[in-house]
């Protein structure tokens, strides 16, 4: 959208330059100085931050960062920057007003169809559209121009209107309302006897200092203005009609946010695979050990005794199960990114895995497990466990621990598993009931 300014042949009215007269350019023009007179540019016109144009401005595209006083007409889009000041009339197919711009402009729009709104209302608005651009300009010349001093009205809401006031044919103007709320595009004439019948076009006087700016992309049929409708011939539009606020969203679908574009889809909780070696009988695999760990941490089978288990509230016995086999693939997202679990990040307390009430107790059990494991490992027939081979998981919320202490969380078994099945002989587990010590 920006006019290229690197070519040496581009026309530039530099800062410190004043042109008193008419400028006709068939190439892009950039104004950083002052121009007092009409500016007709076939290409793009950019008024820089220190630029000032006082006169009629016509260009294919207009980008304003400075001050423009006069009529603006663009075949394409008009972009008004955050520090721009525009006073006068404006007609364009698209208009983008950024936050902070001071506007006192008269926008001529023609509205024929309004999606989602009542048809009679839309047709009524359409009937008041001008038939040609010359007629519109003639009306603009005869109608009084609103005062340019009031720029503080912030009661209005942004409005999206697609305007083509300079169209030679009565092309319809598409106005697409937002999904909710439904805009009220009632352009009623001013009930004043002195005022002639409703104008042949919908006129809006913009008195607003934008606080919420919207930048439209090419192709968006939307105009974001804060408007105040009035009828032709009214001296003061603020006295003629109250401000009508409309909220019409642009036709463009909202672009996905940055987080939506970057954040991978939520990953399911990592699946825990029971260890067949520690529990030869699948039915007796009642207890499983879930560890918050890094995925590269090697988990070895750890023998556990029932006496080491902390009593649960319901009397169930917490048991330890070896971790999943090493050939288990790391959980990854559909895009191949490592999930938070695979990256070693803290899991968000999956309630199905670690009851919050059991965490302190199980952590203590884990410490005891580590201590006994290191003491009994040489004498046991089960695969020996080297305490140093167990990498503790980084858990900042846990109690202080040594680097050799693994972190285990024991999930309680279900009631039917505990009651119906026999404890593992190998692990010598027995269920505990509530109240057992």
């Amino acid at each position: 959208m920006r006019v290229k300014t690197t070519t040496s042949d581009d026309a530039v009215i530099a800062a410190g330059t004043r042109v008193i007269g008419e400028i006709v350019a068939r190439e892009p023009l950039r104004v950083a100085g002052r121009v007092v007179g009409a500016v007709d540019v076939r290409g793009s016109l950019r008024v820089e931050r220190d630029g000032l144009v006082r006169g009629r401005v016509s260009a294919a595209r207009i980008e304003i960062e400075g001050v423009v006083v006069g009529e603006l007409s663009a075949q394409g889009a008009v972009t008004i920057g955050p520090r721009a000041q525009v006073v006068g009339a404006l007609s364009a197919d698209r208009l983008a007003v950024e936050r902070g711009a001071a506007l006192a402009i008269d926008v001529d729009v023609r509205v024929e169809g309004l999606a989602g709104d009542a048809t009679p209302r839309a047709s009524r608005v359409a009937s008041s559209a001008p038939s040609s651009g010359a007629e519109a300009r003639a009306r603009r010349a005869t109608s009084p121009r609103p005062a340019a001093s009031s720029v503080g009205d912030e009661r209005s809401t942004p409005t999206a209107v697609s305007a083509s006031a300079h169209a030679s044919t009565p092309d319809p103007i598409t106005v697409t309302p937002a999904a909710a709320p439904t805009p009220t595009l009632a352009i009623d004439p001013q009930p004043d006897a002195e005022v002639p019948p409703p104008p042949l076009r919908a006129r809006y006087v913009v008195h607003a200092r934008r606080r919420e700016g919207v930048t439209l992309a090419p192709g968006d049929d939307a105009l974001f203005v804060t408007e105040r409708p009035h009828a032709t011939g009214v001296e003061d539009p603020r006295q003629a009609a109250p401000a009508r606020t409309r909220t019409i969203a642009p036709t463009r679908a909202p672009a996905p946010s940055r987080m939506d574009a970057v954040e991978p889809p939520p990953e399911p909780a990592p699946e825990l695979i029971p260890d067949a070696e520690a529990t030869p009988e699948p039915r007796r695999a009642r207890h499983r050990v879930v560890e918050r760990r890094r995925t590269d941490a090697e988990i070895l089978p750890v023998p556990i005794e029932a006496s080491m288990m902390a009593p649960a509230d319901d009397g169930d016995v917490a048991d330890a199960r070896p971790p999943p086999p090493p050939e288990r693939p790391q959980p990854t997202s559909p895009r191949g990114w490592p999930t938070a679990f695979a990256a070693g990040a803290q899991l968000a307390d999956p309630p199905e895995l670690v009851p919050p009430r059991a965490r302190p107790t199980t952590f203590a059990v884990a410490e005891q497990l580590a201590a006994q494991m290191s003491a009994r490992a040489p004498a046991r027939a089960t695969p020996s466990v080297e305490p140093a081979s167990i990498e503790p998981a980084p858990r900042a919320s846990q109690a202080p621990r040594t680097s050799q202490t693994p972190i285990w969380t024991v999930r309680r078994a279900r009631e039917d598993d505990v009651d119906g099945g026999a404890p593992s002989k190998r692990l010598r587990l027995r269920p505990r009931k509530r109240g057992d010590t």
């Binding site: 026309a11 530099a14 800062a15 410190g16 400028i23 006709v24 950083a32 100085g33 820089e48």
Partner: protein, 134 residues
């Protein structure tokens, strides 16, 4: 007249100090006043006054008075030229008007139809806007 107008105080941005360029496909019907340099690639139907250097490029044309610290003409100038330092008329340039400068260079092949005024006080003769023989 040029000294009566000064650039705005905010004119210290990236465009400050850049020269004004009248593009090849650009027409200015009016006067151009600048505190910097002016280069004319297109057409100016009016006076050009600059505190810096005024250059009429090869296909440029100015129909009016040129006033500057230094004036270079490679295109067409229809009107007088006043320079504080120097006026140079380059090859294939066409000047129809008087030249006022302490130093004037007219290249071989240039066409000058006017009177050359070389003031000895270094002012380059009467400035535009003053009462001169124009």
């Amino acid at each position: 007249m040029t000294a009566s107008w000064s650039p705005p105080r905010g004119a210290r941005g990236p465009d400050a100090g850049l020269e004004t360029r009248v593009g090849r496909a650009m027409l200015v019907r009016g006067d151009v006043e600048s505190t910097g340099d002016v280069r004319v690639f297109g057409r100016v139907e009016g006076d050009v006054r600059a505190d810096g250097r005024v250059t009429i490029e090869r296909r440029g044309e100015v129909q009016g008075t040129i006033v500057g610290r230094r004036v270079d003409v490679a295109g067409t100038l229809v009107g007088p030229a006043h320079a504080d330092e120097r006026i140079e008329v380059r090859l294939d340039a066409v000047v129809i008007g008087d030249l006022f400068a302490p130093r004037i260079v007219i290249a071989d092949g240039a066409r000058v139809d006017g009177v050359v005024h070389m003031d000895v006080d270094g002012r380059g003769g009467a400035r535009a806007g003053e009462d001169d023989d124009e």
